[in-house]
Each structure stands twice: as structure tokens, then as C-alpha cells.
């Protein structure tokens, strides 16, 4: 469908990441008292940046 490959994998990664963004704090980490949830979400934010950077990495002006 496109000249650039990898769209399905990238979209799947975004979907999984967003799912984990809710599922981990409300699943394994639910009710834990400490900084683990804050640290998880901090890492989640950085992972979002990396994923978006990968998605935009191939853009070019021609």
C-alpha cells in the first residue's frame, strides 16, 4: 500500500504501548504504595517520544 514499510508494526507498537500505559498501573502495580507507578509512567512518556521519533524518522522533503 505504501512505499515505506513498517506501518503495521509501528501502529501495533503504539496500540500495545497505550494499552500497557493503563494495564500495568491498574494491573500488577495497582494499590502499590511507593514511586513505582510514577516511575513507570515516566518511562512510558519517554517510550512515547522514542516511538514517535521512529515514526517520523523517515520523512523527507522532495
Amino acid at each position: 500500500m505504501t512505499g515505506r514499510s513498517g506501518f503495521a508494526a509501528w501502529l501495533g507498537a503504539l496500540a500495545v504501548l497505550v494499552f500497557l500505559g493503563a494495564a500495568v498501573p491498574y494491573g500488577p502495580l495497582a494499590g502499590s504504595i511507593g514511586w513505582s507507578i510514577a516511575l513507570f509512567w515516566g518511562g512510558f512518556g519517554l517510550a512515547v517520544i522514542v516511538l514517535i521519533a521512529l515514526g517520523a524518522a523517515g520523512w523527507r522533503d522532495r
Binding site: 500500500m1 505504501t2 512505499g3 515505506r4 513498517g6 506501518f7 509501528w10 501502529l11 503504539l14 504501548l17 497505550v18 500505559g21 493503563a22 498501573p25 491498574y26 502495580l29 495497582a30 494499590g31 502499590s32 504504595i33 511507593g34 514511586w35 507507578i37 510514577a38 509512567w41 515516566g42 512510558f44 512518556g45 519517554l46 512515547v48 517520544i49 516511538l51 514517535i52 521519533a53 515514526g55 517520523a56 523517515g58 520523512w59 523527507r60 522533503d61 522532495r62
Partner: protein
């Protein structure tokens, strides 16, 4: 309490600087509608990115998100970061919006939808939904300014004075040179927002004995706030209810999606996205940390929306830094307000006055800007319940344009009737559930029902109707352009 004279002096200096920038922007004007609303599509990544950031990160952050953290704890961070993850939609849609707008000369996102489906009524429906849900959202920005300024001065600066100040700044910065003055002042305001917030948070943490002591004290005194569902607010249902509509913000809110039309090239687009990401993550963390600091330095507040004014007047933040942060929050509110006003102006000028000449479209836009700001000001002062309800509903309400937007680029079979049914049916359900049935925006049934109906109507009605002959086929026609810029 802070001295009103000090605050007025700071605002005067800030306003003067902003006016200078706005006046300078007028010298670049060429008098066309494309120039007034999109700056001739010649913006670079940094200004566009800072403008996008200042527009999307409003007074909500340091007033409402801070209050939600104060009330419910760390769940506020997760909610805001799900919105942040929604910026990933830009990877898919930013090149498409930009290429389509450039190729067919679109000025507003509603105009783009109308052309794709071959129906002015689709454009008008999208514009109507934006008006209904974004004008009340402007009111909350005004109310935020009022709450802050009256809160930190013990009421010496009245709500009316505060609202009038915000209105004047937003009107002047928009009317001067349209998007050029809005974007340039936005960029400066983004710097003020970030700089003042960083300074304020450093002083707050220092007052608590440093990062280690702050973390330890939070764990000991408010340990439940570090957990979900925490003290009660952030149940999974509430988290879903708020996060779902906000995830689609980047393509559902025209004041930010229109920013995708102003870029000069793909390199600028990539830079814009990185600026937004960097600003967004930092500002989100600051707003949440600020809420946790308020728990320590201003405990026991009944109205958690006053957490920021209470922290600013707690004695922990030096007066000059507090005043700077007040300017930062004022900047956040004004930058969001003027961007929404300009986008709504573009929608009315292009989608309602379809065949008007360029000068009339600019004049109409200026009138609409004034009307939007007047509306926001009047209702902020009057504190009308109906407006508050619509404002809270804005994210869920604007979500009704998402199926038609995604379908515009990915489903050849999508029709104008499907888009219309989806937008109007979803919006009607949102208003009925929230305002007639009293379903709270914190209840996931609202967002799921509105999103579900909007999607269902879009698919079903499209399947039983036919695309109009004059409809554009974005998926096929943009494919060569997407390949050329190496976008998916």
C-alpha cells in the same frame, strides 16, 4: 497574598512586549485569507511547535491538572500521558493533513472534511460542533485566569478585572495579524510558561528540603496519592472516561490540527512534533509535581482547584517567582483562547461564508474573534452552569469528528451522509447524556457511548449510502505525495 500593583505591573510589561511582537507581525501581512489564517503556510518547526504546545497546554495544566493531582494523586499523570501518547496520531495524520491542505488550499479542518466528502454540510456540521464545544472551553480559560488572579490577591483583583485583562490580550494578539501574531506571541508565551514553571517548582522543592526530602515526605504523608486508584478519584472507569476522548485530541480539536496546515515543509513538521513532545512531557511532569508540592505546602484545601493560588501564597515561593508563574498561567490561558478564537473564525469565514471574497473572509474572521472572546468573557463572569457543563464535555463532544476524520483518509467507501450522521448524532447524544440525563464526564459510559454511536453511525450510514460524485478520494490521490515524502 500578593500585591495587586506588582501583578498589574507585570501584566502591563508582558502585554507591552506581546503588543510589540503582534505589531511587528502585521508588517508581514499580505491581505489574503490564506495569509491571515495560515501565514501563507511558511512557518518553521520551532515557532509552530511552541505555538502548538502553548495552544494545547492551557491554563488547564497548572489549575485543573494540578488540582486533580492534589485531589486524586498520581493517576493525573497517567491520564495526561495517555493524551501525550495520542500525539502519536500525528505520525499518521500530520503528513496527510498537510499534503491535503496544500494541494487543495484548505484553511480549516472542517473545510477539508467538507471537500473530502463533497458536502458543505459536513464542513458546517464540523464547524458547528467546534463552536458548541470550544466556545465554552474558552470560558473555562477565562475562569481560570479569574480564579488565579483573585485567588492570589485575596479578591483585590476581581473576577471581572481578570477576565477583562485576558480578553483584551487575546483579542489584540489575534486581531493584529491573525495566525502570525497568534503564533509569534504563542511561542513567547510558551517560553514564559516553561521558564516560570521550572523556576517555581525548584523553589517549591527547595522549600520542602530538596528532592529527596520531598519524595520521602510525600511517601510518608500521602502514600495513597502515589497509587491508583489512590484516595478515590482515579478508578479505572474515571481514568478511561477522561483518557479516551483526550487520546484523540490531536485530530479532534481544530485549534491544534489546523497548526498542521501552517508548516513550510516536512522537516518543519518533524521539528514541530519534537518541540511539542519535549515541552509536553516536561510541562506534564511539572504540573503533577506542583500538585504534590501543594499537598505538602498547602494541605487541607476543600476546593482543589485553588491548589495553585494556595501554593503561590504559601510563602514558599518568592513573590517575583510567583508573579512570573502567574504570567505563565495567564500566557497559557490567553494562548489557548486566541488560537481557538482564530480557528473558529476561520471555520465561520470559510465554511459558512463559503463564497465570500478574501477581504470579507478576513473581516468576518475578526468579527467572530471578538464575538468568541466576548462570549467567553461574559459567561466566565456570569458562571453559567450550562456553559460549565459544555466545557467539561468538550473533549468527549469533539471526539465525534474522529470517525469522519479517520475515514476521510483511510476508507474510500465513507460517505457524506455517514459523516453527517456520525458528527451530528454523536454530538446530540453527548449533549443529551451530559445535560439532560446528568451523566458525568467522569463516567466512562459517556465517552464510550458517544464514541460508539459516532463510529456506528459513520459505518452503517456509509454502507447504505453512496459517496458523492464531487467527493475527493484522499486515500488514492494523496498516496503518491505520501510516498514522495516517505510517510506511511
Amino acid at each position: 497574598m500578593l500585591s495587586p500593583i506588582l501583578i498589574w505591573s507585570a501584566i502591563a510589561g508582558f502585554a507591552g512586549f506581546g503588543l510589540l511582537i503582534a505589531w511587528r507581525a502585521t508588517r508581514e501581512n499580505t491581505g489574503t485569507a490564506e495569509d491571515y489564517y495560515l501565514g501563507n503556510r511558511r512557518f518553521g518547526g520551532m515557532v509552530a511547535g511552541l505555538s502548538y504546545a502553548a495552544t494545547t497546554y492551557s491554563a488547564f495544566m497548572l489549575v485543573v491538572l494540578t488540582g486533580l493531582t492534589y485531589r486524586g494523586g498520581i493517576g493525573a499523570l497517567g491520564f495526561e500521558l495517555i493524551y501525550f501518547a495520542g500525539l502519536g496520531l500525528l505520525v499518521i495524520f500530520a503528513p496527510r493533513f498537510w499534503l491535503a491542505a496544500k494541494r487543495w488550499g484548505f484553511i480549516s479542518p472542517a473545510e477539508m472534511l467538507g471537500a473530502r466528502y463533497g458536502s458543505r454540510w459536513v464542513a458546517r456540521a464540523a464547524a458547528l460542533v467546534a463552536l458548541v464545544f470550544l466556545m465554552p472551553y474558552c470560558t473555562t480559560q477565562m475562569a481560570g485566569i479569574g480564579l488565579l488572579l483573585s485567588g492570589v490577591t485575596g479578591g483585590e483583583i476581581t473576577l471581572t478585572q481578570a477576565v477583562a485583562t485576558g480578553a483584551l490580550l487575546a483579542a489584540l494578539w489575534t486581531l493584529f495579524a491573525g495566525i502570525r501574531s497568534v503564533a509569534w506571541t504563542d511561542a513567547v508565551q510558551a517560553v514564559v510558561m516553561m521558564g516560570s514553571a521550572v523556576l517555581a517548582i525548584l523553589f517549591a522543592v527547595a522549600a520542602l528540603g530538596g528532592w529527596g526530602a520531598f519524595a520521602q515526605a510525600t511517601l510518608e504523608t500521602h502514600g495513597s496519592h502515589l497509587s491508583v486508584p489512590g484516595p478515590g478519584l482515579w478508578s479505572l472507569g474515571t481514568f478511561t472516561a477522561l483518557s479516551l476522548p483526550w487520546f484523540f485530541f490531536a485530530i479532534s480539536n481544530p485549534q491544534v490540527s489546523q497548526r498542521l496546515f501552517i508548516l513550510k515543509d516536512m522537516a518543519a513538521m518533524r521539528r514541530m512534533i519534537f518541540w511539542v513532545l519535549g515541552f509536553g512531557l516536561a510541562f506534564t511532569l511539572i504540573a503533577v509535581i506542583w500538585g504534590f508540592a501543594a499537598l505538602q505546602l498547602a494541605p487541607g484545601l476543600e476546593n482543589t482547584a485553588t491548589a495553585t493560588p494556595a501554593l503561590l501564597t504559601s510563602g514558599a515561593i518568592p513573590a517575583p517567582v510567583a508573579v512570573l508563574l502567574i504570567l505563565g498561567i495567564l500566557a497559557a490561558a490567553v494562548s489557548t483562547l486566541d488560537s481557538i478564537a482564530l480557528t473558529l473564525a476561520a471555520m465561520v469565514a470559510r465554511d459558512v461564508m463559503t463564497d465570500a471574497p478574501p477581504r470579507a473572509q478576513i473581516l468576518t474572521g475578526r468579527v467572530v474573534v471578538i464575538l468568541v472572546i466576548l462570549f467567553a468573557s461574559l459567561f466566565a463572569v456570569q458562571k453559567a452552569t450550562v456553559v460549565d457543563q459544555l466545557a467539561a464535555l468538550s473533549a468527549a463532544g469533539l471526539m465525534v469528528t474522529v470517525p469522519a476524520t479517520i475515514g476521510a483518509f483511510f476508507w474510500h467507501r465513507a460517505t457524506a451522509a455517514g459523516a453527517l450522521a456520525s458528527i451530528l448524532g454523536g454530538a446530540a447524544l453527548a449533549v443529551w447524556m451530559a445535560m439532560v440525563q446528568g451523566v458525568s464526564v467522569f463516567n466512562p459510559v459517556l465517552a464510550l457511548s458517544v464514541g460508539g454511536l459516532s463510529l456506528g453511525l459513520f459505518v452503517l450510514v456509509s454502507l447504505v449510502t453512496r459517496p458523492r460524485p464531487e467527493a475527493l478520494d484522499f486515500a488514492a490521490e494523496l498516496r503518491p505525495d505520501l510516498d514522495r515524502v516517505n510517510a506511511w
